[in-house]
Subunit: 308 residues, 2 copies
């Protein structure tokens, strides 16, 4: 009897597999190391084998996959971090598990993080949400009417690469300059801080560090360091400008802030709100901003949400 | 027997009523003058009376309404042009037509124009679309998975009020400065042209006009007037920047360009594309841009689409 759903989040370092019953209860979670040898050609076989050691394939109803790359209509365009080009993992996993009748769905990990937060996290009960994940890079996920929005090229939610900064205009990994990711991700905050330190000789405890992380900039800002406060404020101003544009385009019920930077909690939300509201007046007086609650399990929950 | 659907587009000057059979054929269209006296309190009664002169109410299955203001979950927040504040026209029209069993849906006119183009226009066959209407102001409409996106505050699609121009930073009707509408609507193109004429003494045939319209600027640009070309190029650059952001947020199957400015046809699309593609590389090589085909009937068709 088919009594399990599997939510599987494939990351560049490890794969998180969640076993759910059909009542949406999470029964077990385990990790599989991501084998990137041979252009990641063994990853799906590793997943299939790992599942078989845990349960009988005939008991699986469906599998949802989150992957770190653009996806549209269940087809992966590419996952550079995994060594994958275009890939149809729906077909491949059915073959590996030797079951044509399995339901399989695939989504981008940032989109699925948003789905996870709607399914089991802070946005539970909402049907329209935009989640921004402020990590090493910036991911974004869009849920409309309870459904994950991929976009025709799998680019929906990718606000990290929207142009926002003409002043510092830092180079981005994508080849463009001035992308949101260059000033508001964890690495972006550090880059922006270095620009500020270079452009003036204003005092700051940041100058004591040879190397520093975004967390240090945030902690110093929280502790009252004026330059650090200004850096975080400017970084969140850039983010707020993009979130205001999200509002004028889809006007979601809730914005969810996730990723490492979101550990700064209300401090970050207040900074975003300060810059956001003047940009959306007179149309909007109140918008829900919340910190994500599922951490690195969001993608796994979102993968299960896809197959509900 | 209920055999008709009505698509009704309420504008500031006139109301367009389309009579459809249940096979989606448009059988008749007529106009009713918009009576704005007494804060528009007679508008719905005028519509109800006009319908009754044409058909028997018992033959109506459903009515879809497009209105010039923000709408969410069939409730109008306000329609300044009509004199309306918050309004539940679902309830009111059922009372006026004395039939509780009518299906009634309401949407914002710009969103419904997008729906109309999906239903019977240039975007027929697509399920994800973004339409921008370049008229006196700028309207925008979002369709995801074939459904109209209102947004929690009815603001979805309202890209006219996203901040885009820090250089001229012209005042917008909304109270903010530098909104897209101030540089890319019909009035915006004229304002931008006046800025260009003021800021240099470069020659242009535009200088011969005491007053001029956006159409004149476009026609001169088409005819090779260098300054006019530059003005239109800059205006469409601003629009392209916002459409690139739309791409990074919802990545629609197609962008539809409507409103008076869209009469310039491919000339406008080429200008948009020139500025758009560098902003979306390396993620996107091709995006569909099309000129709207339904003209001022788009809203009426979209209103009917709502009740399909």
């Amino acid at each position: 009897m088919r009594k399990y759903n599997l939510g599987i989040d494939i990351g560049g370092t490890s794969i998180k597999i969640g076993l759910f019953n059909l009542d949406d209860d999470l029964l077990d979670v385990w990790n599989v190391k991501t084998n990137k040898h041979s252009n990641g050609s063994l990853i799906l076989a590793d997943i299939a084998n790992s599942i078989k050691t845990k349960i009988d394939v005939s008991e699986i109803r469906a599998l949802g996959f989150g992957v770190p790359g653009p996806v549209s209509k269940n087809i992966i365009y590419s996952c550079v971090n995994l060594g994958w080009g275009q890939k149809d993992i729906v077909k491949e996993i059915k073959q590996l598990l030797n079951d044509e009748n399995l339901l399989v769905r695939v989504g981008n990990d940032a989109n699925l993080a948003a789905a996870g937060e709607i399914y089991k996290g802070v946005a539970s009960g909402y049907i329209n949400a935009f989640m921004v994940t402020l990590g090493t890079g910036i991911g974004g996920g869009v849920i409309i009417d309870g459904r994950v929005v991929d976009g025709i090229n799998g680019v929906a939610g990718e606000i990290g690469h929207t142009h926002i900064d003409d002043i510092h205009n830092l180079e981005c990994n994508c080849g463009k300059k001035g992308c949101l990711e260059t000033v508001a991700s964890a690495t972006g905050i550090v880059r922006l801080a270095k620009e500020y330190l270079k452009l003036s000789d204003r005092p700051s405890k940041l100058r004591k560090f040879e190397y520093f992380s975004a967390k240090i900039v945030i902690d110093l800002a929280k502790a009252g360091d004026e330059l650090a406060k200004e850096i975080i404020s400017k970084s969140m101003e850039y983010l707020a400008k993009v979130l205001a544009k999200v509002t004028y385009i889809i006007n979601p019920d809730i914005f969810i802030i996730g990723g490492g930077i979101s550990n700064a909690g209300n401090f970050i939300i207040k900074e975003i709100e300060k810059h956001y509201y003047p940009l959306v007046k007179p149309f909007i007086n109140h918008t829900n901003f919340s910190i994500a609650t599922l951490g690195n399990q969001a993608g796994m929950f979102g993968a299960c949400y896809l197959i509900k």
